[in-house]
């Protein structure tokens, strides 16, 4: 017989909190410990909390997760080759103004969020890759757990 397993649900506020925490890990990565990979793992936890409750969501095809991973990898590749005129992964956006290209004032300062150039974008693409990959891994565990014959 197929074992029916019930998992408890997570509060939507907790899920939003996890999502925001994961994105903040990536965005603030140049100012403090933390990186895109840890942010992606936290976002994957949030996705896990969503799909844990819903049987249909657990059995749905992982095309969204594969899309996450593919878009993240493509963004990483494009960003890597953007600065190919100088060298691979050259930071083309830094110091140019715009959203991520702010200029850091000289001297002792508190660090500013939007001055990292392509570093934040690299970290955000790594968030997509890690969330897709770890989410698919968790999905595989759940499928194996719910479809096994119960002894």
């Amino acid at each position: 017989m197929i074992a029916e397993k019930r998992y408890s649900s997570a509060h939507p506020f907790l899920i939003l909190l996890l999502m925001g925490l994961g994105l903040a890990q990536a965005l603030f990565a140049h100012l403090r410990p933390g990186d895109g990979f840890t942010g992606g793992a936290i976002v994957a936890l949030a996705l896990l909390a969503v799909t844990m409750k819903n049987e249909e969501a657990r059995l749905a095809s992982p095309v969204a997760l594969v899309l996450f991973e593919g878009v993240g990898l493509a963004a990483f590749l494009v960003l890597s080759f953007l600065g190919m005129g100088a060298t691979l992964m050259y930071n083309v956006l830094v110091g140019r103004g715009g959203v991520f290209g702010g200029t850091l004032p000289a001297g002792h300062n508190g660090g500013q969020l939007f001055t990292s150039g392509t570093i934040a974008l690299f970290n955000l693409s790594v968030v997509l890759i890690a969330a897709g990959a770890l989410g698919r891994m968790a999905r595989a565990f759940f499928l194996a757990d719910s479809q096994e014959v119960d002894r």
Binding site: P33, H108, N109
Partner: protein, 113 residues
């Protein structure tokens, strides 16, 4: 303070090593392995300790004063995520293999040890 954290690292390491060596249960072995990894993470973070230092957040840098080493803590966060992923994978193996083999012990059936 430094000595206390080193003692804690040693205790964690000894507990993990004892679990890996002496435990027969696969699940307990995996968790003991996590103890070993945690002791390494704790050692990294304690190496970055500075007397009276502030947490390594560069948004607080303007207030001055010494700061704990950020590189050790950055490595520790990555290391924690990686070790949690590997422990998840190993735990999944430890839980799914018994359904095939019929035993949670790491030995094969019908063979004396």
């Amino acid at each position: 303070m430094r000595d206390l954290t080193l003692v804690a690292v040693l205790v964690l390491f000894a507990a993990g090593l004892a679990g890996v060596v002496f435990s027969q249960d696969r699940r307990k072995r995996v968790m003991a392995l996590f103890f070993l990894q945690s002791s390494a993470v704790f050692l990294f973070v304690s190496l970055g300790y500075r007397q009276g230092g502030r947490p390594p957040l560069f948004t607080l840098m303007a207030e001055g004063g010494p700061m704990a080493l950020p590189s050790a803590q950055a490595m520790a966060t990555s290391f924690l995520i990686l070790s949690s992923v590997t422990v998840a994978l190993l735990l999944a193996l430890a839980f799914f293999l018994p359904r095939r083999e019929g035993t949670i012990r790491g030995e094969r059936k019908g063979r004396s040890r």
